[in-house]
Each structure stands twice: as structure tokens, then as C-alpha cells.
Amino acid sequence: MSVAVAKAKSDLSGPYEREDLLNGCQAVAQGVRLADVDVIAAYPIRPYTEVMDALSKLIADGQFDAEYIIADSEHSQFEIVKHASSVNARAFGGSSGTGWMYGMEALVVTATDRLPPLFVVGNRALDDPGAFGVEHNDAMAIRDMGWLLCWVTTPQEALEHVLIGYRIAEDKRVRMPMGLAMDGAFLTHSQHMVKVPSVAAAKKFLPQYDLAERRLHPDNPISVAPQVNEDWVMELRRQNWEAAKRARGVIKEAYKEFNDVFGNRYSAPYYFDEFMTDDAEVVLIGIGTVAAPARTAVRRMREKGQKVGYVNLRWFRPFPTVELRESLSRFKAVGVVDRDFAHGSPDDCGILMHEVRSCLYPAKNRPAIVNFMGGLGGRDLSIADTQKMFEITQQAVKKDSMDGFITWIGLRE
């Protein structure tokens, strides 16, 4: 281990100052430090809590300076973050599962107020019954509210997306809250070696937060969110709609700028990455840490000459409609992996399936498409599971019925 660390350290240069063994939560905390966040509001719920534990220790040790507030509930926590953001302080919050839902009212108004704090969501199954493991319905609950929402798959990406997230959210053309989601346990609590950027490099990439004409301060005596009724809500919704659309362009810019400062870390189209898809006929698309077993399955199946690939969807809001449509319509069949549920929805699919299918509807070449429900409540999705999903998707190429359209993976029956 120490040899590996020493070797890795010698590779460091320029924008990165050291390499640490960090889990997803600790990596996010480092990102928050590097973003020079002004106000943090904390409330405990597994698995995201360790982000807040790590931050309080950084503050206690004088490694960075922020107001750290222990809130009395998630509703208060999120309202504190929202109002700190309104006075032009960079603010940070987060939660998981049922805690995220408890503060939902505050999450909604943060978006409708067009304020850009960043929240981490350590994805967790919703109660009842209690479960600590990952499921994506918590973060997905904000998907239609005017939030930016992306998933990361490694601690390195988690750290970097705190910086990237604030960069996009605070952009004058966007000003939307940023949801940074990561799979509970599989990412929040798995350790990797993480290259930690230097303060100078972080500062170079991320400009100061400036709410400008919308900041609440005695020198700028505005009224924010007065009652509008039917007179103006349509126009305001339209403005939020346009901001969400504009965000797509700003996301691209942000990654390009990030690459300029940190070396080519991310490649176009940024909203998603593809693995071995160049000549692929069949792909799976999923969100979060299922990428790891899926990529291994791809490698193994490739060794047997099977033309499979994997698409990891990073940005869910705004949804990369055009790019994903173009990409997926190259394939003969697409299997959509949902770590969430949408009971009673069309064809009883998961949320991601609905989004992908709707995205593909106008495509000239529509691939066959099947849906997988798996890994709910934190159940492991193994290499064998993903391999099975590939096989089912391969069969879908020839099928013209909806039989076997949806498969629950790893279900005890």
C-alpha cells in the first residue's frame, strides 16, 4: 500500500497537490473545502452523514473556514442553506433517503427561487421498511423541480463535481441548485486513491459566487418571491424552463474549463461516458456504481467476441436529450438498468427507462429496448447480474413482442 501511494505521489504535478485514500463522503468534503464554501448546514442520516463529519473535523482543525450549523431537521437544514445562498454566501447541504424527502418543501423553493447551493445526496432506499442501501428514488424526487442533478461513480469524480457543480449552478445563465448524487455505501463508503487539487487550481477554475442583482443585502433592497398568483407564474416557470435548457451548454463549457485547468479529465459529450461502444451492437445504460460490474462484464463478453458496451449516464438533469438520442440510436438493442421504481407508470418501468424511451421516440433508428429493475435497497448488482442483463438485451434484438420486456434482477421468487 505505502509503495503504491509513494508511486502515485510521484505522478502528481501542477493542479493536484497530493493523493489521499478517501471514500466518496470524504472526497466530497475535500471538494467543499476547495470550493471555499461559506455556510454548511448538517443533519445526520446514513449514508451521507460522513460528509458532514469530515467537514466539521476540517473546520475544527482549521483547515478551512465556514459557518457550520447543526440543524434541527432537514427542513431547517435546507432552508438555512437556501437563505445563506440568498445573501450571496456559497452554501452546502446534503442528505439521504427519507431525510431528503423530509426537507422536500425547502428543496422545491430553492429551485423556484433560482438559488445555486450544492447538495450531496448519498442515495438510500426510502422508508418503509428501513434500509440503508442505495436506491435512486430519493434524488429522483427533485427531477422535475428545476434542479441540476448528476451522479458520480468514483470518489475522484465526487470531489471534482463539487467544483464543477458550483461552477455550473452559479453561472448567471443557470442559477439552479445542484444535486450531486452518489450511491450509498458503494460510493459513499468505498475508498479509492484520490488526487486532491491544490487550492490555487480550484480557485483558478471556480470563480467567486456572485448573485449580483439578486443578492439580499441592505445595499440591494429587493423583494424576493413576493406573491404572484396567476398573473405571473407562467412567465416565471418559463424562465426556469429556459435556464434548465441553457444549463446544457454551460455544462459543456464547465467541463472544457475544468479540462483546461486539470488536464483532460473528462471527454465529450461529458453528460455520459461510453465504454467499449465503438462497434457495439448491444449496450446497457445505467446510473451510478453499477458501471463497475457492467464494465467488467463488457470486458469478459468482449473476450468471447460479443459486441457489447456500457453507457454510464452522469447528468440526469438537464437530460442530455440530443446527444443520448444520437448515441443510443447507433445500437440494435439497449437495456436500461433502473435502481429505482415508478410503480404503476406506463409499462410499469423504472424512471430511467421512461426517460430513455421518451428520448428515443423521435429517433430515426430506434433500438429495441428492455428494462431491468435491480439493486434495490442496496442489493448487490454483480458482474454475473450485469452479464445476464446483457444476454437478455441481446435476445431483445430478434424479438418483436413485449414478452420479457421488464426483468427484476436478483429477485427471490
Binding site: A71, S76, H83, A106
Partner: protein, 331 residues
Amino acid sequence: MSTVPTIDYEKIKGVHKIPLEELYTSGHRTCQGCESATTMRGFIKAAGSRTVVTGATGCMYVANTSYMTTPWIVPWMHTQLGAGGSSAVGMAAGLRALKRKGKIKDEKINVINFSGDLGAGDMGIGGISAALQSDYDLLIIMYDNESAANTDIQATGSTTYGAQTTFTPPGTKHPIMQRRWKKNVAGMLAVGHPTCRYVATACATFPPTDYLNKVRKALSIGGPTFIHTYDPCPKGWDYHPRFSNELGELGIKCGIYPLYEIVEGQIIYTWDARKTGKGRIPVKEFLTKQGRFDHLQEEHFTHIQKMVDEMWEEWEFPGVAPIKGILKARI
């Protein structure tokens, strides 16, 4: 505790000394005779323009602050019904961090939230409790019109016993539906937060200037502070709008609404309704001037009078905390 020295406000001695500058002006749509509007106008007069304000959902948002016709000259933001305390903490924390890091000028900026009795006293009580445990300079004003007025007058935890509201209509089987005794919000918050240095009750118009000076006192003492105001509401209490001030005064004089401030743990009665002080007028004189009590029967008046007398004569801290003494220890 606070990072910035508090402002030394001058005490307002008499109505002629009330600042002329209006920071809450035309544009609101509150009812004629709305005492809560006077509460708004007063606190911001007392605090001055170097202030940021949040207002929780309720009449003082919906009827008060409409798009394109805001009455607020100071920076103002809506906050959610139960978010009064956390909105103040968020703003105070943000401003403190920005000042400390040199991102904005280091100067005193008042942070004030107002929330109604349902918003502050019921839904947001946890958030206000947390705010009062903090070390931020902030003031929370709970304007109490004794109902969820904005949603058409429903009973809250602060509604007077016996009152008719849309959730508590008198009926043939149950002559009164409002059978909860008014929640003791100011007393509860004072007792529960040992490091909070200022808690007061007030009424915008009685005694004259008392409320304005309480706002100033809270802001100069600093740290997290709380003021509960008693706001007659012509629509909810059912009386002619011209009598708002008089009803506030009667409510205090009959002792049903105790008027005091607690400064660093010391109670000061700003209207002393104890027998040893100014004494009390009968509660019935106050109740019978409001339509919301039209259905009360003699036994109800007697009960309310008994409860009020108990507040002033049997509580260890009269009108403030419902503790009646210490029983001999039985081990």
C-alpha cells in the same frame, strides 16, 4: 458571542419621537384595521434600513407582499411557513461568513424574521428553538393574530379558548369546539433557551412606543432574540376595524395576554396585571366585544376568567411560566 458590536439604538421616548421614515409603505393588501400590518410597520421603523427581513407564509406574505407592489423598502424575502427560524439562521450565518472572510464590508446588519402564530408557534417552533440556541444576531417576531388567518381563519395552537374559527364552529352538540388553552410560546422559548438574552411579548400599539423599544432592545442586546406580538385581526376576531388598537389594549388589561420582557433572565412586566400591580379588568369585557365569542355561555366566561386568574395568582412566575411551585420531595 457576536462578532460585530450591536447598534446602540436610542430609546424612543414618546410618540413624537417615533422615526418618520417609513420602510414599510403602501402596496400591501391587508384588511382595514389589520394590527399585524402595524406590527410590520413598527418593527422596521425601529430597526432602520440596515436590515434584511424574511417573512413566512401567512397573511403578512400573501396579503402583504405582492409582486410589483411590494411594501418593503428594505431587502425582503419570502420563507416557508415553518422556516422562520432557519431563514434567519441562514441569512445571519451567510452574512457572518462573508464579513469574516472579507467578501463584504464588516458592518452591523440586522436579521429579522416574522412568522405568524401557526408558522412560528406550531409548525416552525423547532426551527425557532434551534435559532435561539445559536450565537447569531437575529430577531424573530411571531405576529399572533390567533388563527391561520390567511387560509380563512382556522384555529392554531395560539387561538383563545372558546373562539369560533372555521375549524372550530359552535354546534348544537358541542357549544365550543376550540377547547385548547392558548399555547405559551414566549414563556416556553424563554424557559427553554438559557443563553437567549432577550424574549418579550408586545402589542404594536399599546402601551405606545413599548413595542418599538422592545424591538430596539432585542437588536441592541444581540444574539438570537424573540418577540411575540398580540395582533387583533378584524376579520378573524369579528369586530369593526376601528377597534383594533382598543382590543389590543383590553386584551392586555384583562390579563389574558401578559405583557413582559425577559432580559438576561430577569422578568420586567411592561403592563403589570398582577393584583399587586395595575390589576386586571374582567376578561368578559374583552371577549364580548368580538363576534368570535358570541356563542360563549356564562360557564365558558367563568372558566376563562378562572384560567386567567390562575396565570397571575398561582404561577410561580405570573403570566410567564405555568409552574406553580415545588412539592415537598417524597423519596
